[in-house]
């Protein structure tokens, strides 16, 4: 039996990222996915991505393209069920997440130990997203990519699967919580 393997793409809710949607709703990208044995592509395309999505559905009305089944939706308040569909199970191979550098998706991918490609939105001012993407790449949690080199990034991510940490290693060595420093601020009698 062929294991199902998902590529989940998220562009977030707040800003449009048409360039990224164009790059993934593209025959070349789907062929590349098929080459890496992906069976499903799911796109969270955001509010402004609807037109591009409808255009794609009109161009390719059949459910499979290059053997990859493609689904899309605008937005959900919680994306973890989609991310969880990329985890390894009896019937599923470990998939991949392509994120617009939103903190929520990056954190969830780390928690679920999913391969990750981070594509910061260059049209937005937030250069802290680039800092984070570069840092994640340094720590081998993710590939820091650009909309124009997504195919290469996918090759790289697939090649580096074995080098990837299988779970979150604590860079500072301990289990950290916010409630302990909170309790310190209450100044209890010793």
């Amino acid at each position: 039996m062929i294991l199902k393997k998902l590529c989940f793409v998220s562009v977030g809710a707040t800003a449009s990222f048409e360039k990224l949607i164009r790059q993934v709703l593209n025959e070349a990208f789907l062929a590349k996915l098929a080459q890496h044995k992906f069976t499903h592509l799911l796109i969270q395309y955001g509010k402004d991505g609807e037109a591009l999505w409808n255009e794609f559905v009109n161009d390719f009305p059949e459910e499979h393209l290059h053997g990859v089944r493609v689904g899309g939706f605008d937005f959900k308040p919680e994306l973890w069920p989609c991310m969880h569909m990329a985890t390894k199970t009896m019937t599923q191979d470990l998939g991949i997440v392509i994120s617009h550098a939103g903190t929520g998706t990056i954190l969830e991918a780390l928690r679920l130990a999913l391969p990750l490609i981070i594509v910061p939105n260059a049209d937005l001012a937030g250069n802290h997203q680039v800092d984070l993407a570069a840092q994640m790449q340094d720590m081998k949690y993710a590939i820091h990519a650009d909309v124009d080199n997504l195919l290469e990034a996918l090759d790289k991510a697939e090649a580096q699967r074995s080098e990837r940490p299988s779970r979150v290693s604590r860079p500072y060595g301990h289990e950290d919580t916010v409630v302990d420093p909170m309790a310190d601020q209450l100044y209890f009698v010793d």
């Binding site: 199902k4 998902l6 809710a13 069976t39 499903h40 799911l42 999505w53 559905v57 009305p61 459910e63 089944r69 493609v70 689904g71 899309g72 939706f73 605008d74 959900k76 308040p77 919680e78 973890w80 069920p81 989609c82 969880h84 569909m85 199970t89 019937t91 599923q92 939103g102 903190t103 929520g104 990056i106 954190l107 780390l110 928690r111 250069n127 802290h128 997203q129 800092d131 984070l132 840092q135 979150v168 604590r170 860079p171 500072y172 301990h174 289990e175 950290d176 919580t177 916010v178 409630v179 420093p181 909170m182 309790a183 310190d184 601020q185 209450l186 100044y187 209890f188 009698v189 010793d190």
Partner: protein
């Protein structure tokens, strides 16, 4: 000619100079009190086991999710944090709902809180998001975990040991910078009312609490956090001055209105705007990456503290 110079000096001595002097005095008082507040040594007089009122500032989706995750990372202890006030910005139903769900979970009143990770909707095989034929959005809503069912839109905004309060936004997205100062003041005022227990949507606090003032305020970065933390410091300044004026001096007092700011995990090298603004205000400024550790507003002020990754 001489006449006009006289007029100039007249205006200068009667208006410009006093205003400048008052302004300078105000700035000196503000800087001095921030300095004193950051360097004050607090006495440990709070007894364990008593009531603790924590105020949790929630923001937009991402901030809220991270905040609740941080609090519940090691099971949230409701016997220590006996009363919780959640503050959301007006119109942010997501955060309010999340707070109510969090309360249902930590209060042990959850109806069917199975671990979300074990939910059946999260496997490719059972998902219908890949089906075509009709508008995909309509299909999604039938299987999405948060359905648009009106009955589920209702959630409790207060309970025995918690309340969820809205404040107006400090600045709406795309709001003009001309009107922004007014809405920020509006937000600041709403924060003051909440902190002193005078907010219009105020539900009566339990009798066990001596005062409406929260013991501790925790926030991780939305704009309303800036208002709330500055409002708390503002109140503390007045409490300090009134104690001094009424001759109660500096006798040991329970630490209240303590402010904690947690910088977003996404900030690796540079503080956020909220963070930069709150650097001289927050009593504890937590960062999650080493490059941000040890920063301070200016000489003599408290430094940011690194406490590891709190959100994973």
């Amino acid at each position: 000619m001489a006449f006009s110079i006289d007029v100039f000096w007249g205006i200068f001595w009667q208006i410009v100079a006093p205003v400048a002097a008052l302004g300078l005095l105000a700035i000196t008082i503000i800087l001095a009190s921030l300095f004193i507040s950051h360097n004050a040594k607090l006495s440990k007089v709070r007894r364990r086991g008593g009531p603790v009122h924590v105020l949790i500032v929630l923001g937009s989706g991402g901030h809220t999710t991270e905040m609740l995750y941080m609090l519940n990372k090691t099971a949230f202890n409701t016997s220590l944090w006996t009363y919780r006030t959640y503050v959301t910005t007006s119109g942010d139903n997501f955060s309010a709902r999340k707070a109510a769900e969090f309360e249902a979970q930590v209060g042990g009143k959850a109806t069917k809180q199975t671990s979300p990770k074990e939910d059946a909707t999260s496997s490719i095989a059972t998902h219908n998001m890949f089906q075509r034929g009709s508008h995909p959005g309509e299909k999604d809503e039938k299987t999405a975990p948060t359905t648009k069912n009106p009955a589920e839109d209702k959630f409790p905004t207060s309970g025995e040991s918690f309340r969820i309060i809205e404040v107006p936004r400090a600045r709406r997205v795309h709001q003009s910078y001309l009107t922004a100062p007014f809405s920020t003041l509006h937000c600041f005022w709403a924060c003051l009312l909440i902190l002193t227990g005078r907010s219009p949507s105020h539900q009566s606090l339990p009798q066990t609490l001596e005062t409406a003032l929260p013991d501790i305020i925790i926030s991780n970065g939305p704009a309303v956090a800036v208002c709330m933390i500055i409002a708390a410091k503002f109140l503390r300044f007045f409490i300090f001055v009134s104690r001094w004026l009424t001759g109660r001096g500096f006798s040991p007092e329970i630490a209240r209105l303590r402010t904690i700011y947690v910088e977003s995990w996404a900030r690796v090298r540079h503080l956020s705007v909220s963070g930069k603004l709150l650097l001289p205000f927050a009593d504890l400024f937590i960062v999650q990456w080493r490059p941000l550790e040890g920063l301070r507003a200016w000489w003599g002020m408290k430094r940011t503290e690194h406490k590891g990754w709190l959100v994973i």
